[in-house]
Symmetry: C2
Subunit: 495 residues, 2 copies
């Protein structure tokens, strides 16, 4: 590595130290921080974010980047320069004040959102959301866009994607999915009431830890805690934090944990020499989500997976012993329009995202006001899912994203759904016996393939290039519609 | 507040954000961080410490200080300038590289220390300690001193104190204390074996949380976790973190929690407008320790305290029901030479500190090598306490301080012991019925007095001035020797 590149990398590691600090503070805020700590924490995180922004966009850093850019380096050096350049372009367009205010507001706002959700009081949260949207609009204007203001935001999470792409994606998948939901809706209702109850928290903790360790999450380099809204974060590739939650639905903890572990194993799988550099970690939100969905849905909701684990689950919760494996697999794949996105089944999930995408587009473009949001939310649930939330807690207050200022993030969940099947199909060409492996509790060959093809690439390629390299084609809906269709027809015995 | 002062305060709040970040990262490292996270964490904390140092000592900051210093402000403004100036003097003498290396080494070294302690392998830790001493020596040389290299280090924790002061203090208290220990040693041995056992962790957690809440620690602005070596830290006055530990001795958790809560209530008690400024928090290590010792020993090991709480403890642990209050009070005040400082009784405690003081003086001045440390440690325990540690785990590997680079810190524990009685005697002039209050479980008048006289002063006065203002005289051994003597003569029925 040339001296110029080395100097750039050094500077990026300083930036990484500030990023890690705010990430630890965010993790702490969502897991352990006492209630009244929020105000000072928000203030401090705001200052750190401002320092981070100032350091990253400083003339000196830009000179380091220019110096490194003219060097002829290897592939990885070229990739690092490309990634820093993209981030620099995004960051230099944003004034420090805006970054600091958004960060501070995000911190305060999340605290209020937790309260508002607990009390079912949208009014508490509304002024924070109002201000956040104003900041997000400024952000989009600073970043610039060609067609729609939303494009600027989406590009931050998924390089190159546009609102038009997202609309096209939903247009392709909506009808076949709604059709399948309808077919299943005509069958007798699946009974999953026996998965609801009062499940011992410490047993749920132990079982989910065993589960994510078994699929390959390394607890020497990570841990699992609880948070109101499960998430995964990491401070290095050797310190990855999962969170889950314990609710009356037994699946909440299980699939929450598997989902976050998918994110976590992706982060743990970067090449060691990428650690704390701009090339470390998942390449985009969509590709990241493909991995959480792979482990949650394709692996974690499959019959072979539970052939291995259901007896262990029955051991932990003997009340399940009267229920067969088939009943369990059907119950955890129950398709039913529901209110809470993170607990939605695989089939209806994308409709939850479609609703959020349409609403946040409208909020950002100004065609919908914050005051109108609860009603608009409920109207869309009635329209697309045929059900109407009774409270804002199970309606527009359910997600952390908007309180954190993450507008443009939701569509990447649906992209993740599509990519999970597309990548899984590629995996099955090299590892054809996935069902047998899972039934035997052997996840190593699966994880190894993903590690080699996806995780170990870090951010070396653009998301688009990575998908091409791994699957031989650009992101499409084909594998997804086919895989999902086959799975649900099997579970529900449809033709 | 003038514009110059306001600008200085703003800059100090940026410094505070970096301090809070490293404090959260340190807390996390000692409570929840997975084992392999240490290397990256150390690297990141090192970079943040360097940034903190660079920001604090920057020309711009020095100019802000000079600008603020010429303003005629109120008492608090003057105090803030004084505190920043002292810290600036300390910091500008230290080169950034040294600060970064010490911070990184401290982080790595603590992780190794935990392993070395668990495995009883001093050899694992020795090279880290060796390097730390080299850095500490450089630090002392940079800071400068008049008489002894140790003075430079001690002054960092206790403004103005010297090795000669510490020797004089020990000379005054050593004989009367050893005499009292001897008198008690001639009595039949106190049976506290029934306080050792296998105590349910969650019950210990619940009981200690109830206890520290009852004396006034605010859980809305703090929490308690567990750590191998209990400590207290805070990220703002509204986010104070206690730690405790659950061991086979029931008193470990109880007195550990009370001790850390004493530190914690001091931090929670700063005036709100001091928060995140240089005037917030405890004024010195010695005064800080006086408060932890007050709540741990003067309050928490008193008969009246347990008149109120012993029935509750018996309820939590019914195995205690066969033991009377008097037996309990005697057992928790058992005087017996022992190996572990943090579990030592009040009487022998200062001898543990004397040993550490003499050893770290010798290590720093170079008259003792790291290789010789275990033997020297054991020889002093044999000499002063009449007992010889069988392992380094219960010997020179027991304390976190040296791994963290905290040389010069130990004597402040003994100063705290002296000051706790001196301040308590002053308190009793205004609140004469402390025994009745404690027996009734009413700690408000006690906490309020301490809050008003000590905690609410923050760092406004120098430690010396504060002690004078609160007690009407400089720190001395009189109240301590008298108070301790009276207490132990009562517990042991001596003349």
């Amino acid at each position: 590595m040339s001296a110029a590149l080395q100097a750039l990398k050094e500077r990026m590691m300083d930036v990484n130290a500030l990023d890690a600090a705010t990430a630890v503070m965010d993790w702490d805020q969502q897991t352990y921080m006492p209630a009244h700590g929020a105000s000072a924490r928000g203030e401090q995180v705001g200052r750190l974010s401002r320092m981070r922004h100032e350091m990253f966009t400083a003339d000196e850093t830009q000179k380091l980047l220019e110096g490194a850019a003219v060097e002829t380096g290897d592939d990885e050096a070229t990739a690092m320069v490309r990634v820093v350049k993209r981030n620099m372009d995004l960051a230099t367009k944003l004034p420090s004040d805006l970054v600091a205010e958004k960060s501070k507001l995000g911190s305060d706002s999340q605290e209020i959102w937790v309260q508002a959700r607990a009390k079912n009081e949208f009014g508490l949260f509304a002024p924070y959301l109002q201000r956040m949207i104003e900041l997000v609009r400024k952000e989009a204007e600073c970043l610039g866009y060609k067609e729609h203001i939303y494009d600027a935001l989406l590009d931050e999470y998924e390089e190159g994607a546009t609102a038009a792409d997202v609309r096209a994606m939903f247009d392709t998948i909506k009808d076949p999915q709604v059709d399948l939901i309808k077919q299943i809706g005509e069958l007798p209702e699946t009974d999953d009431s026996w998965l609801y109850g009062s499940w011992d928290n410490s047993k749920q903790r132990a079982f989910t830890e065993m589960l994510v360790q078994a699929i390959g999450f390394d607890f020497g380099r990570g841990r699992q805690d609880t948070a109101p809204h499960p998430f995964c974060t990491n401070f290095s590739m050797d310190d990855v934090r999962l969170t889950t939650r314990f609710k009356d639905y037994l699946g909440s903890a299980i699939f929450g944990s598997l989902h976050e572990a998918g994110h976590g194993m992706y982060e743990q799988g970067s090449p060691r020499h990428f650690d704390r550099t701009p090339l470390c970690g998942g390449v985009s939100m969509g590709v990241h989500e493909s991995q959480s969905r792979t482990w949650e849905n394709i692996v974690g909701r499959s019959r072979p997976f539970w052939q291995h684990f259901y007896p262990k689950l029955q051991e932990a919760f003997p009340e399940l012993k009267s229920r067969s494996l088939d009943e369990f697999v059907k119950a955890i794949n129950k398709v039913e329009p529901s209110f809470i996105r993170v607990e939605a089944d695989e089939l209806t999930y994308n409709l939850h995202i479609l609703i959020r995408f349409e609403l946040e587009c409208a909020l950002v473009e100004g065609s919908l006001s914050v005051a109108e949001l609860p009603e608009a939310w409920n109207a869309k649930y009635t329209d697309y899912l045929g059900i109407t939330p009774k409270t804002d807690t199970e309606g527009c207050l359910q997600d952390v994203h908007w309180s954190a200022g993450l507008f443009g993030y939701f569509p990447t969940y649906s992209m993740g759904n599509l990519l999970s099947y597309q990548i899984w199909n590629a995996l099955q060409k090299d590892v054809p016996n996935t069902d047998e492996l899972m039934a035997a509790g052997n996840f190593k060959p699966i994880l190894q393939w993903l590690q080699q093809k996806v995780y170990s690439q870090g951010k070396k390629y653009t998301p688009r290039d990575l998908v091409l390299r791994v699957t031989g084609k650009p992101m499409g809906a084909e594998d997804y519609l086919e895989g999902l269709g086959a799975k649900y027809r099997a579970v529900y015995g449809l033709a």
